[in-house]
């Protein structure tokens, strides 16, 4: 790709830009670990700081970084699929379906309503609905682990909500892709029907014949072949899914679900470093392509959205935990834990902005994600204080 762009100086500039970018991200990662904060908001902030008109401008490596960002989304999704087994998905779906519906209604509708009120149109409304709907599995899993809440009774309920949301995305993303591609209502209905069909078929294949899919990529004692096999299959299916307008991300997610067992565990191990690199580039690229000057005008809107949907998300968590038979404090813990939005909101915004939908979606999503993570972190410990007050005689 670099060679096509020009001579040796071009390659040199590309390498310098890419190196500076990755090195900077490495420093950010260390800062995040030092202060025990999720790294996603830092990547976004870094991208925003050096965004259009900022200090760093990617001239030579722009195309490369853009492709890397696309691969980042695909790797985020395939890892998500790998981490859930098909059985976990099915049992979560069976146990948590009502909560999933409540979650969808409570959290997607405010986003859609706000976009309509702002006059952004139907497509942007669907996109903003997705942005406010899905909590961040990455941020929440890290917070649960760091705060020692993995053993808590409400934790399976929290994770159940996340699983349902991720599954719902497998239907939502194709719908959004179809809407963004334009065409009449008929085309959208066909696209969604295809998506529902493909997702159901893959789930059945994954649960019944997962062994055969796994065999396709399995390589005994050879992690290199396994890495190439899984990566190749993922990109292949993602590309085909994109061609069918089912969304590349969903294709990748489904590959992740279909690969199971020991192979999946090894695949997680070998893919994780790749995912870390490319996903980091994705978050930064999203920040970079958002003009920092556009943030201020959408700040009130993003703040209103963050406050409202923090409330609705807390309702989801509270109800989910109550349904699991957890007492009051645990319900509040589940409520506040679900607030942070993250990777999916950014994926949806990037998809929408990339397809030329309402440009304000980009800065709005960036502001919104940062605000929800901030709110989530601020109130995370609050239910513990509730305990101290209650246990007083």
């Amino acid at each position: 790709m670099a060679a096509a762009g020009g001579g040796e100086t071009h390659v040199a500039v590309l390498l310098v830009e890419l190196g500076a970018l990755l090195f900077g991200l490495g420093v950010l990662g260390r800062i995040a670990r030092r202060f025990n904060i999720p790294v996603i908001p830092l990547y976004l902030l870094a991208g925003l700081c050096f965004g259009q008109g900022g200090v760093l401008s990617l001239s030579a490596s722009h195309d490369f970084v853009q492709v890397a960002a696309d691969i980042g989304v695909i790797l985020l999704l395939v890892m998500l699929g790998l981490e859930y087994s098909a059985d976990e998905l099915r049992s979560s779906l069976r146990a948590q379906a009502p909560i999933g519906v409540l979650d969808g209604l409570l959290n997607a509708l405010p986003g859609a309503a706000l976009a309509l009120i702002a006059g952004w149109g139907a497509t942007a409304a669907v996109a903003l609905a997705g942005i406010t709907w899905v909590s961040s599995s990455g941020v929440i899993a890290k917070m649960l682990g760091d705060s020692g809440r993995l053993g808590n009774r409400e934790t399976p309920a929290i994770l159940g909500v996340l699983v349902i949301e991720d599954l719902a995305m497998a239907l939502y993303l194709p719908l959004l892709t179809a809407l963004l591609a334009g065409g009449g209502a008929g085309k959208v209905v066909v696209a969604v029907a295809i998506a529902v069909g493909v997702v159901s078929v893959v789930l059945v294949i994954a649960t019944r014949y997962g062994r055969h899919v796994t065999k396709l990529v399995s390589a005994r004692d050879n992690n290199e072949s396994l890495l190439l096999g899984v990566l190749g299959l993922t990109l292949l299916v993602a590309g085909l899914a994109d061609q069918l307008k089912v969304s590349a991300a969903v294709g990748a997610f489904l590959v992740g679900i279909a690969v199971s067992g020991a192979v999946a565990e090894t695949a997680i191990e070998v893919l994780a470093p790749l995912r870390d690199v490319f996903a980091a580039v994705f978050f930064v690229f999203f920040g970079l392509s958002t003009n920092p000057g556009d943030l201020l005008p959408v700040l009130p809107l993003a703040l209103a959205l963050a406050v409202v949907t923090s409330g609705t998300k807390m309702t989801t968590g509270y109800v989910a935990a109550r349904r699991a038979g957890v007492k009051r404090r645990g319900r509040w813990r589940a409520a506040v834990t679900l607030i942070p939005r993250g990777e999916f909101s950014v994926v949806v915004a990037a998809l929408a902005v990339g397809a030329g939908a309402q440009a304000k979606l980009g800065p709005t999503a960036a502001c919104y994600v940062l605000l929800t993570i901030l709110i989530g972190a601020l109130v995370h410990r609050w239910p513990d204080r509730l305990r101290a007050e209650q246990s007083r005689p």
Partner: protein, 169 residues
């Protein structure tokens, strides 16, 4: 004797097992896929962690071995009661033992005496079923099963008082 254990799947993370203790408290063990383990003691609600101790792989194994060692001795005691005439003894490897820092196989304990070495206790941890290439260290306790005569012979081999032909003792 049996303990009530409930298990909760944590999609994408691992599994949490909860044990009801005899004093009414509940103990949770989270096994993350990454290998990290969390020991959890629940609060008065029974829902949340009052204490959460994160253990890495090595630490979890060390805890398991320490907790498992008395279990092993107990099982051996039962075995001993079941098999008339067999005894189990923990034989020390003294610092001046000819087999300190040498592989277990060099002692030829089984061939020479007929006794079996079923485990080695080292610094409170039980290392079950040692292989012939297992290297003994001074201070190890070698758990040996056999007849009284055979076990005594192994003790002599370990402390170096057995004859080189292996028939004395």
């Amino acid at each position: 004797m049996s303990v009530d254990i409930t298990s909760r799947v944590l999609p994408g993370i691992g599994v949490c097992q909860e044990l009801a203790l005899h004093d009414g408290r509940r103990l949770g063990i989270v096994t993350r896929r990454s290998g990290l383990r969390d020991l959890v003691l629940y609060d008065e609600d029974g829902d949340g962690a009052a204490v959460d101790i994160a253990l890495n792989d090595d630490e979890a194994n060390a805890v398991a071995e320490i907790l498992g060692a008395p279990q092993l001795t107990f099982r051996l005691a039962v075995l001993q009661r079941q098999a008339e005439g067999l005894i189990v003894e923990q034989l020390p490897v003294p610092a001046d033992s000819p087999f300190a820092a040498r592989p277990l196989g060099d002692t030829q304990a089984r061939t020479r005496t007929g006794a079996s070495i079923v485990a080695v206790l080292r610094q409170g941890a039980a290392l079950p079923s040692p292989t012939p290439d297992f290297v003994l260290q001074p201070g190890d306790l070698v758990v040996t099963v056999g007849t009284q005569a055979a076990v005594d012979q192994v003790a002599h081999i370990l402390d170096g008082s057995a004859g080189s032909d292996g028939t004395s003792g």
